[in-house]
C-alpha cells in the first residue's frame, strides 16, 4: 500500500510540477505571476478532448495541435494583456490583477465554447500492469514519461539553443539583453508561448483520467502555485521537487490520515518549508552566491 501511495503521489506531483513549470517560465523572464496559467491547462484538456474524441485525430497530432493552439493563445495573451504593461514597467500588483482578469476571460471563452459539461477523453490504457506488486497503468507511465521528457527538453532548449540562451539572458538582465540585440518583445512572446504550451500538456495528460472540464484549471491552481513557490520560482529542478513534495504530502495524508486532510497537509508542508527556507527549496542557491 505504501508504495502504491508513493506512486500516485509522484504521478500527481508530476502534473503539479508541469503546470508550475509554466508559471516559472514566465516568472523567470518577466518576474510576474501569470494566474491565467492554469487556464492554458484547461484549454489543453478541452482542445485535446475535442481533437481526439470529436475529430478523431491521431494521438500525436492531437497532442501537437493542442500545444500549438495553446501556445498561440499564450502569445495572444502576452500581446493583448501584458505587453504594454511589461514594457512600461508596471507594478507587480497591476500585473497580477491583469492576469487574474485574463484568467476570467479565458475561462469564460472556454465556457462559451465547451459549456459546463465534462468530457471524456480516451486513455492510453487504464488497465494496470503489475510491476513488483505495484499497479501501474500505461496512462500513468505516459504522464511520468512526458513530464520527464518535457523537463529534459526544456532544459536542453534553455541551455543548448540560441533562443534558450537569449531567454535566460533576458531573465537575468532584461536591459542588458536588449543592448546585446535580444528583442524583448520576441522573448516575452516566446516565454508565454512556452508556458502556455507546457500548461496545455498538463491538461492533455490528465484529461483521460480526470475528465476534461472548464473548472479543471481552478482546481489545480493553488497546488501548482504552491509547487512553484516551493521550488523557488525561478528554478526548473526546484519546481519538479516542489511538485513532487506537494503530490506526495497530500497523498500520504489522504492515505494515512483522512482525505479531509489532503489539502491541509499539502499547505502545511508549504508553510513549513517557507518558514525554514524563505526562497524555496532550491531557490536559496542563487542568493547564497551573490
Amino acid at each position: 500500500m505504501f508504495l502504491q501511495v508513493i506512486l500516485s503521489g509522484i504521478v500527481v506531483g508530476g502534473i503539479y510540477a508541469l503546470v508550475a513549470l509554466g508559471f516559472v517560465v514566465v516568472y523567470r523572464s518577466v518576474t510576474m505571476f501569470n494566474f491565467a496559467q492554469t487556464e492554458y491547462y484547461t484549454l489543453g484538456g478541452m482542445l485535446f478532448a475535442t481533437f481526439l474524441a470529436r475529430y478523431q485525430l491521431p494521438l500525436v497530432l492531437a497532442v501537437l495541435l493542442t500545444m500549438v493552439v495553446a501556445a498561440l493563445v499564450g502569445i495572444l495573451s502576452e500581446r493583448l494583456a501584458f505587453r504594454r504593461l511589461l514594457l512600461l514597467g508596471a507594478r507587480p500588483a497591476n500585473l497580477i490583477i491583469v492576469s487574474l482578469a485574463l484568467a476570467v476571460v479565458l475561462r469564460s471563452v472556454i465556457l462559451l465554447i465547451w459549456g459546463t459539461d465534462a468530457r471524456q477523453v480516451p486513455t492510453l490504457g487504464n488497465n494496470p500492469i503489475e510491476i513488483a506488486g505495484l499497479l501501474v497503468t500505461p496512462q500513468q507511465i505516459f504522464i511520468l514519461g512526458s513530464t520527464l521528457l518535457v523537463v529534459a527538453l526544456l532544459h536542453l532548449f534553455m541551455h543548448r539553443t540560441r533562443l534558450g540562451l537569449a531567454l535566460r539572458a533576458t531573465a537575468s538582465n532584461r536591459t542588458m539583453a536588449g543592448l546585446m540585440g535580444v528583442p524583448l518583445t520576441s522573448m516575452l512572446a516566446l516565454s508565454f508561448a512556452l508556458s502556455a504550451g507546457i500548461g496545455a500538456l498538463g491538461g492533455i495528460l490528465v484529461a483521460p483520467i480526470l475528465l476534461a472540464q472548464y473548472s479543471m484549471g481552478q482546481a489545480i491552481l493553488v497546488k501548482a502555485f504552491a509547487a512553484a513557490i516551493l521550488g523557488g520560482l525561478s528554478n526548473v529542478q526546484g519546481v519538479i521537487v516542489g511538485g513532487l513534495i506537494i503530490g506526495l504530502a497530500e497523498n500520504l495524508a489522504g492515505a494515512y490520515l483522512s482525505s479531509a486532510y489532503k489539502d491541509v497537509v499539502a499547505f502545511a508542508v508549504l508553510l513549513g518549508v517557507l518558514a525554514l527556507r524563505p526562497s524555496g527549496i532550491l531557490g536559496g542557491r542563487t542568493e547564497e552566491k551573490v
Binding site: M1, Q4, V5, S8, V11, V12, G115, D117, A118, R119, Q120, T123, N126, N127, P128, E130, L135, T137, Q139, Q140, V206, I209, L210, L211, Q213, S215, M216, Q218, A219, I220, E250, N251, L252, A253, G254, A255, S258, S259, A260, K262
Partner: protein, 372 residues
C-alpha cells in the same frame, strides 16, 4: 439547452395568456407551478410543468373542480434560492396550492415560507431529505428522497448481493454529506460497519488515496454519493488500481446518459436506484401519446410526476374546497388519499413523503435496465 430554454419561455407565455379564466363565470382555481424555467435545471422543471399542463387540460375538459376551472400559474426561480424565497412570499395571496418543480436549494428556501403561509405544496424534483424532515407540515414530495434511495440501495447490497465489506465515498456537498449520514445510520441499524468512509471535494480530481484504502481494506462494494463527474472519476481510477471487481452502488443521479457517456466501460455494472417510469401501463401510454405529440419531447419521470402532482392536488381540492381557508383540509385530503397515477400507486406518509416502489437498475452494455 438554449433551445429548451426557448421552448420553456414560449410555453410560459402561452400558459400565462390562457383565456380559460375569462371564459368561466366562476373565478378559476389557481395552482402555482414554481420552477427553474431558464436556468441550469430548466429541462426538469419544464418537463414537470408540461406534464401538469396535460393534466390541466384533461381535468378542465372533464369539468374542472366541481364546475370550477383550474388555472396554472408558472413562476420562474432560475434555480436561485433567493428568488425562490421571494416568489414563495407572494404565493399565499396569489394561488390556492403549489407544485414546486425546482431543484433542492430553491425548494429548501421556499419550504419554510410556504409552510408558514399554510399552503399545501408538492415537490417533484428535489431528493433532499430535508424537504420532508424539517417539520414543514404542508410539504409533500412526489419524487424519491435520498433517504429512501440509500436505504433501498443498501438493502440491495446487503440482502440481494449479500455483500458485507462496504465502503462509502461521498462528496463534501450538502447532498454528499447528507447521503453519508443516512448511509452510516442505515448500516448501523443493520449492524454493518463500513470499512472505509472517505469524502471528496467536487473540485478533486485524484482519488488514489481514497481508493488505495478501498484496496487494502478488501472492500466488495462501494456506495458513491455525489455529483456524476466525481463518480465517473472514481470508477475510472478504481480500474487503474484493479478495483474493477468492486461493485459500485449509487443513487438516481447516476442513471443518466451523462454518466454512461463519460464513464464508458469503467462504469459498466453500476447498480443504482432509479426513479423509473414504467411505460407499459395504460395510463402512461396515454400520457406519453398526448405529451409527446404536444411538446415534441420525450416523456420522462419528471413530466409524469408533474402530471400526477396536479391530479393529486385537484382530487384533494375537490373533496376539501377551493377557498384559502380550506387549505388545511386540502392537506388532509392529500395525506389520506390512495392515488393511482402515472408513476404507480402512491400514498403519502404522515411526513408528506410519497410511499412507492423504488426500482434498482443496473448498467449493462451501456444501458440501464431494471434489476429489481
Amino acid at each position: 439547452m438554449s433551445t429548451k430554454a426557448l421552448w420553456a419561455s414560449a410555453f410560459l407565455a402561452a400558459a400565462m395568456l390562457s383565456p380559460a379564466a375569462a371564459q368561466s363565470q366562476q373565478p378559476p382555481v389557481l395552482i402555482g407551478v414554481v420552477g427553474d424555467f431558464s436556468g441550469p435545471v430548466a429541462p426538469y422543471s419544464t418537463a414537470a410543468l408540461q406534464g401538469a399542463q396535460v393534466a390541466l387540460d384533461e381535468l378542465n375538459a372533464a369539468g374542472g373542480i366541481n364546475g370550477q376551472r383550474i388555472q396554472l400559474r408558472p413562476y420562474d426561480d432560475r434555480n436561485d434560492p433567493v428568488e425562490g424565497a421571494t416568489i414563495a412570499k407572494r404565493l399565499g395571496d396569489e394561488v390556492l396550492s403549489v407544485i414546486v418543480t425546482s431543484g433542492s436549494s430553491p425548494a429548501l428556501s421556499m419550504g419554510p415560507v410556504l409552510n408558514r403561509a399554510g399552503l399545501p405544496f408538492i415537490t417533484t424534483l428535489s431528493s433532499n431529505p430535508a424537504v420532508t424532515e424539517s417539520g414543514w407540515k404542508y410539504a409533500n414530495r412526489l419524487h424519491l428522497s435520498d433517504r429512501h434511495q440509500i436505504e433501498r440501495i443498501i438493502q440491495h447490497a446487503l440482502d440481494t448481493d449479500k455483500l458485507t465489506k462496504i465502503a462509502i465515498l461521498y462528496d463534501t456537498s450538502d447532498l454528499g454529506v447528507g447521503g453519508r449520514n443516512i448511509a452510516l445510520k442505515t448500516l448501523e441499524k443493520r449492524s454493518v460497519k463500513p470499512l472505509v468512509v472517505e469524502g471528496w471535494k467536487q473540485t478533486d480530481a485524484d482519488f488514489s488515496s481514497q481508493l488505495i484504502k478501498l484496496k487494502s481494506a478488501g472492500v466488495e462494494g462501494v456506495i458513491i454519493w455525489g455529483a456524476v463527474e466525481g463518480a465517473v472519476r472514481i470508477a475510472q481510477q478504481m480500474r487503474a488500481l484493479a478495483l474493477d471487481k468492486v461493485q459500485i452502488y449509487g443513487g438516481g443521479g447516476l442513471v443518466s446518459q451523462k454518466f454512461i457517456d463519460l464513464g464508458g466501460s469503467a462504469v459498466e455494472g453500476t447498480i443504482a436506484t432509479w426513479a423509473y417510469l414504467d411505460t407499459s401501463t395504460p395510463i402512461v401510454t396515454a400520457l406519453e401519446k398526448t405529451f409527446e405529440s404536444r411538446f415534441k419531447s420525450k416523456l420522462d419521470i419528471f413530466g409524469a410526476q408533474g402530471y400526477d402532482a396536479l391530479r393529486i392536488l385537484a382530487q384533494a381540492i375537490s373533496t376539501a374546497g377551493t377557498k384559502p381557508s380550506d387549505r388545511p383540509k386540502i392537506l388532509e385530503a392529500i395525506r389520506s388519499m390512495k392515488y393511482q397515477g402515472a408513476v404507480g400507486e402512491i400514498t403519502f406518509g404522515p411526513d408528506g413523503e410519497n410511499i412507492r416502489k423504488i426500482y434498482i437498475a443496473r448498467l449493462k452494455a451501456g444501458k440501464f435496465s431494471v434489476l429489481d
